[in-house]
C-alpha cells in the first residue's frame, strides 16, 4: 500500500543513480508479480479454451455463466484473503454464508406462509439486512474466540465451522429450503450492459476491501498484524481490536456471499458450497496472498477467481468432469508455487 505512496517519492528524487532506479523497478515487478502472473494466466486460459472450443466457450451463455458463478466465490476468496493478511484463516466463512442464506430463506418462508407472499416480498431489504447481521454476528463470535480468548484461528474457525454447520443441519433438518424474496431473484437475473448485477456486487466488495486495506488505518493494522504480530504489538497496535474487526468484517462478507447464493438460486441448504472452503484458500494463495500473513492484493484475488472460473467453464465446454477440474486446480496451485520457488531461488539474496 505505502509502496505506491513511496514510489512517488522515489520518482521525485530524480537524481538517484540509474542502478537504484533499475533495482527499484525490478522490485516493483516483484511486488506486483502475483497480479501480473494471474493476469497472464487468465489471458492464457481464455485463449486456450477459445482456440479449443471457440463456438461453445465464446458463446454468450458461457460468458454469462462465468460472470454469474464468479461473484460468490470471489467474495468468499476476498474474505479468506483478509483473514490470511492478518496472519489467520477463516474455515467457517462458507458456513457463515449458508447461515445467512438459510436465515433469509426461512424467515421469508415463515412470513409468506403467515402473512402472505406479497408482504414477504416487500420485506426483501430488511431480510437481506437480517442475513448480513447473522454474518456479522457469526464473524464476531470468531473474532472473540481468536482475539479475546486467544485460540489459534485455524482451530477456532474449525470449531465454529462445525458448530454453524451443525446448527444449520438441525434447523433445516438436512433438507434444501426453497424460497427467497422475489427481489433477490430479480437481482440475480438483472444485467447492466450485459454484466450481471451480482458481478457488480463482487466489484463493489473488491473496491470496498481495496479501500479498507489501502486507505483506512484498520487496513494498515491488519497488515501489520499479519506481517509481524510482535512488532505490531510493540508499535502500540492492539491485536485484540484488530482481529475482532478483521473477523467481523469477514463475517459480513460471508453474509453478503449468502445473499448472492440466494440471488443465483432461490434455495438454501447447510451443505451448499461444500467444496468452496478449500477452493477459496487456493484462490487466495494463487492471487498472491502470503499464507503466513502481511501480504495480499484484492486485484490478485479477483484475477485468480476469474482465472479458475474460466478453467472451470472451459473444462465444462470440453466436457471434462468436475474431478478433472479439481485436479486442474491442484496442478495450477502447485504450478504457481513451483514457479514462485524457481523465481525466488533465482532472484533472492
Amino acid at each position: 500500500m505505502m509502496n505506491r505512496i513511496a514510489e512517488a517519492d522515489g520518482m521525485r528524487r530524480g537524481g538517484a543513480e540509474r542502478r537504484d532506479v533499475l533495482t527499484d523497478f525490478v522490485r516493483k515487478i516483484h511486488v506486483n508479480r502475483s497480479v501480473g502472473q494471474m493476469a497472464a494466466l487468465l489471458v492464457a486460459a481464455f485463449a486456450i479454451f477459445t482456440i479449443l472450443r471457440p463456438a461453445v466457450f465464446l458463446g454468450s451463455y458461457n460468458l454469462q455463466v462465468i460472470a454469474l458463478a464468479a461473484p460468490e466465490i470471489g467474495i468468499l476468496a476476498i474474505a479468506m484473503m483478509v483473514t490470511m493478511l492478518s496472519g489467520g484463516i477463516d474455515l467457517s466463512v462458507v458456513s457463515i454464508a449458508n447461515a445467512s442464506a438459510i436465515t433469509i430463506s426461512m424467515t421469508y418462508t415463515a412470513v409468506s406462509s403467515r402473512a402472505g407472499v406479497e408482504l414477504a416480498n416487500s420485506l426483501a431489504l430488511p431480510l437481506v439486512l437480517l442475513g448480513l447481521v447473522v454474518g456479522v454476528a457469526a464473524g464476531a463470535i470468531n473474532g472473540l474466540l481468536i482475539a479475546k480468548v486467544g485460540i489459534t484461528p485455524i482451530l477456532a474457525t474449525l470449531g465454529t465451522m462445525q458448530l454453524f454447520n451443525g446448527l444449520e443441519l438441525v434447523v433445516t433438518g438436512g433438507r434444501t429450503l426453497y424460497g427467497a424474496p422475489a427481489g433477490l431473484s430479480t437481482l440475480g437475473t438483472t444485467t447492466f450492459l450485459g454484466v450481471p448485477a451480482i458481478f457488480l456486487i463482487l466489484v463493489v466488495v473488491a473496491v470496498a476491501i481495496g479501500v479498507l486495506l489501502d486507505r483506512i488505518s484498520l487496513g494498515f493494522r491488519i497488515r501489520y498484524q499479519g506481517a509481524n504480530a510482535e512488532a505490531s504489538r510493540f508499535s502500540g497496535i492492539s491485536s485484540t481490536r484488530t482481529l475482532l474487526a478483521t473477523y467481523t468484517i469477514v463475517g459480513l462478507l460471508g453474509g453478503i456471499a449468502g445473499v448472492v447464493f440466494l440471488s443465483r438460486n432461490p434455495s438454501a441448504s447447510a451443505d451448499y458450497g461444500a467444496s468452496y472452503t478449500l477452493l477459496v484458500i487456493v484462490i487466495a494463495v494463487l492471487g498472491g496472498t502470503n499464507p503466513y500473513g502481511g501480504r495480499a492484493t484484492v486485484l490478485g484475488v479477483v484475477l485468480a477467481t476469474l482465472c479458475l472460473q474460466v478453467v472451470a467453464s472451459g473444462f465444462t465446454a470440453m466436457r471434462l468432469s468436475s474431478q478433472q477440474y479439481a485436479m486442474a486446480q491442484g496442478v495450477i496451485l502447485i504450478g504457481a508455487m513451483v514457479l514462485d520457488y524457481l523465481r525466488g531461488r533465482g532472484s533472492s539474496r
Binding site: 505505502m2 509502496n3 513511496a6 522515489g10 538517484a16 527499484d24 486507505r215 510493540f234 508499535s235 501480504r295
Partner: protein, 501 residues
C-alpha cells in the same frame, strides 16, 4: 604484522571468499589458530565475524579458499565434518535443551555422535560426571537446564563441547551476561582448557575483558582482514580504530538541564513480583537517563513495565506531570511514551515491508481525515521529513527494511516513534548491532531530541555509550535501583565497578 607460526596451526583459513548476492561478506580473509591459544576475533557488526565462524563450523560454504583443520585440507566443511574435526561453537543462547537435565544435555551429542540410536539415561550420567569432575566444576547434574543461571548454562555448554572431543571452541560473546566474579571464573576455566591443548576463538565486543585472556587478536572490517597480532600490543582505542578505520569520538557530551526543568516521566514505587521492586525514577525534559545492570538484573523489565508490555502490579507512573494508568502498550503510547525494543528484528521492524510502512506503523491512526480515509499526502510528507531528519540512508522509502544496515534499521525504529511525538522515549540497547559510526550518530539524535524537550531513558550495557550521552546513570541489581551516578561521578570505571559489585 604477520606472525610466523612456530607450532603447526590447528586451524588455518587461506584466502576465504564468501559473497551473498554480489556483496562480499568475506574478501580473501586468512586466519590461523595455534594450538592452545585464545584468539580474539574483533570487528563491527557486518565485518564478517559471524560469516567466518559459520564457514569454520560448516554452516556456510565459502566461494573459494582453503580450510585446513588438523592438517587436512577442505574446500568447505559441513556441520558434521566440523564436529568430527573437533570444532564446537558455543552460541550466545547456548542451544541447550531447557527441559532436559544438565547431565542429559552434556551427554546427548556424544551419544548421538558415537552412532547410538537409543539414548541411555544410565550411560549419560558417568559421561557428564567425568567431565565435570575433570574440570573441577560445581554443576548440579540433575538440575533442569531451564532453572540454571546464565553462567551455569554456559558451563553446561562448555562441558558438552568438551565431551564431543572439542579441539577448537568458538565462543560468541561469552561474557555479555556474566557478573564480574563469573567472568573471572570463566577465564580461569579457559586457562585450564588451554592447558589441555584446546584452542579457543572469542568473538566479543567487550574488548577489555577479552584481551585479559587472549594471546592473539584478529580484526576484520567490511569483510576484509585488517590486522593480526599479539593481544598485548593493542589497547581498546587502537582496536576500535582498526575496527572502524577512523577515530571515534567517545567523549562525554551532555547539555545542561536546569534543575527546575519540567518532569517528563516520574515513576514511584514501581514493582512486579519476581522482576523488580520499589523503583523510583524521575526523568526531566531534556534529560537522558541511563539504566544499566547485568543481563537479568531487571533493567529491561522495568522499561517494559513502563511501556505496558508486562505492566507493573504496584506503583504509579506520571507522564508530563499527569498520572497515567498503564496496563497495556496502547495505554503507554496514548500517554506519550515510545519504546525502542532490544530485539529490533522481531519486535521493532516489519522486515519485508517498506521503510515508509515501518515509519508510519505507530502513527497511522493520526492521519485519518474525512470519512476515516487516510490523508496519504500528509502522511508521506511527515514520513519524508522524519526520515530526512534522522538521515535514513536509502535510495527511496519503498525499499524493504530487510535490506538496511543495522544503523539505518535502528533509525527506522526511532523514526517510527518520533512520528508519534512522544514525551518520553525509552530505548533498550539503542546501538546493539549498530556500527560504531552510526552509533555516535544515534546518540547525537538522542541528544537533539532531549534538547527539544523529550525525556529519554537509555537501557544499555554499553558503558562507554552511557558515559558519552547520559546525564545520570542508574544501576539495577536484583530488580532494584541500587545506585545513582550523576555529574562527574558518571565515569566508565565507576559504572563498571558498580555493575559488577
Amino acid at each position: 604484522m604477520d606472525i610466523s607460526p612456530a607450532p603447526r596451526p590447528v586451524l588455518e583459513l587461506r584466502d576465504i571468499v564468501k559473497t551473498y548476492g554480489g556483496v562480499h561478506a568475506l574478501d580473501t580473509v586468512s586466519f590461523t589458530l595455534l594450538p592452545g591459544e585464545v584468539h580474539c576475533l574483533a570487528g563491527e557488526n557486518g565485518s564478517g565475524k559471524s560469516t567466518l565462524i559459520k564457514i569454520i563450523s560448516g554452516v556456510e560454504t565459502p566461494d573459494s579458499g582453503v580450510i585446513v583443520v588438523g592438517g587436512e585440507r577442505h574446500a568447505s566443511m559441513t556441520p558434521a565434518s566440523a564436529i568430527a574435526a573437533g570444532v564446537q561453537v558455543i552460541y550466545q543462547d547456548f542451544s541447550l535443551f531447557p527441559n532436559l537435565s544438565v547431565a542429559e544435555n552434556i551427554a546427548m551429542p556424544r551419544q548421538r555422535a558415537v552412532g547410538g540410536r537409543f539414548y541411555s539415561a544410565r550411560a549419560a550420567r558417568p559421561i557428564a560426571q567425568g567431565i565435570v569432575d575433570e574440570l573441577g566444576l560445581a554443576l548440579d547434574l540433575d538440575a533442569d537446564v531451564a532453572a540454571l543461571s546464565v553462567a551455569d548454562k554456559q558451563l553446561t555448554a562448555i562441558c558438552r563441547a568438551l565431551v564431543s572431543d572439542a579441539q577448537i571452541i568458538i565462543m560468541d560473546e561469552p561474557t555479555t551476561a556474566l557478573t564480574g566474579a563469573e567472568v573471572t571464573a570463566l577465564f580461569a576455566l579457559v586457562r585450564r582448557l588451554q592447558s589441555r591443548g584446546v584452542s579457543l576463538i572469542f568473538v566479543s565486543h567487550k574488548l577489555d575483558e577479552v584481551l585479559r585472556v587472549s594471546q592473539r587478536l584478529t580484526v576484520l572490517r567490511n569483510g576484509t582482514w585488517v590486522a593480526t597480532g599479539a593481544a598485548g600490543d593493542y589497547d581498546r582505542d587502537a582496536i576500535a580504530g582498526l575496527m572502524t578505520g577512523k577515530d571515534i569520538d567517545t567523549s562525554r557530551v551532555v547539555s545542561a538541564v536546569p534543575a527546575d526543568a519540567a518532569i517528563a516521566l516520574e515513576v514511584k514505587g514501581l514493582g512486579r513480583p519476581g522482576a523488580f521492586a520499589d523503583v523510583d525514577l524521575v526523568v526531566r525534559c531534556g534529560e537522558i537517563v541511563g539504566l544499566t545492570g547485568l543481563l537479568g538484573s531487571g533493567r529491561g523489565e522495568i522499561a517494559e513495565a513502563i511501556f505496558g508490555v508486562r505492566p507493573a502490579t504496584t506503583g504509579t507512573i506520571a507522564v508530563g506531570g499527569h498520572p497515567v494508568r498503564i496496563q497495556s502498550i496502547p495505554d503507554a503510547v496514548a500517554a506519550g511514551i515510545g519504546y525502542v525494543p532490544e530485539d529490533r528484528l522481531t519486535q521493532g521492524l516489519f522486515l519485508d515491508d517498506s521503510i515508509a510502512d515501518n515509519v508510519v506503523a505507530a502513527s497511522v491512526t493520526a492521519f485519518a481525515g474525512r470519512a476515516r480515509l487516510l490523508d496519504r499526502a500528509r502522511m508521506l510528507a511527515f514520513i519524508q521529513s522524519v526520515a530526512s531528519r534522522l538521515r535514513i540512508k536509502a535510495p527511496n522509502l519503498s525499499l524493504a527494511v530487510r535490506s538496511l544496515s543495522g544503523g539505518n534499521a535502528q533509525r527506522v525504529v526511532l523514526a517510527k516513534w518520533l512520528m508519534t511525538n512522544p514525551k518520553v522515549l525509552l530505548l533498550n540497547g539503542p546501538t546493539v548491532g549498530v556500527d560504531v559510526g552510526s552509533k555516535s550518530e544515534i546518540l547525537e539524535i538522542l541528544r537533539t531530541q532531549a534538547s527539544a524537550g523529550m525525556g529519554v531513558v537509555v537501557i544499555s550495557d554499553d558503558i562507554p555509550e552511557l558515559y558519552s550521552a547520559c546525564h545520570r546513570v542508574l544501576i539495577v541489581q536484583g530488580g532494584r535501583i541500587v545506585c545513582e551516578l550523576a555529574g562527574d561521578a558518571v565515569r566508565v570505571e565507576t559504572i563498571e565497578q558498580r555493575i559488577a559489585a
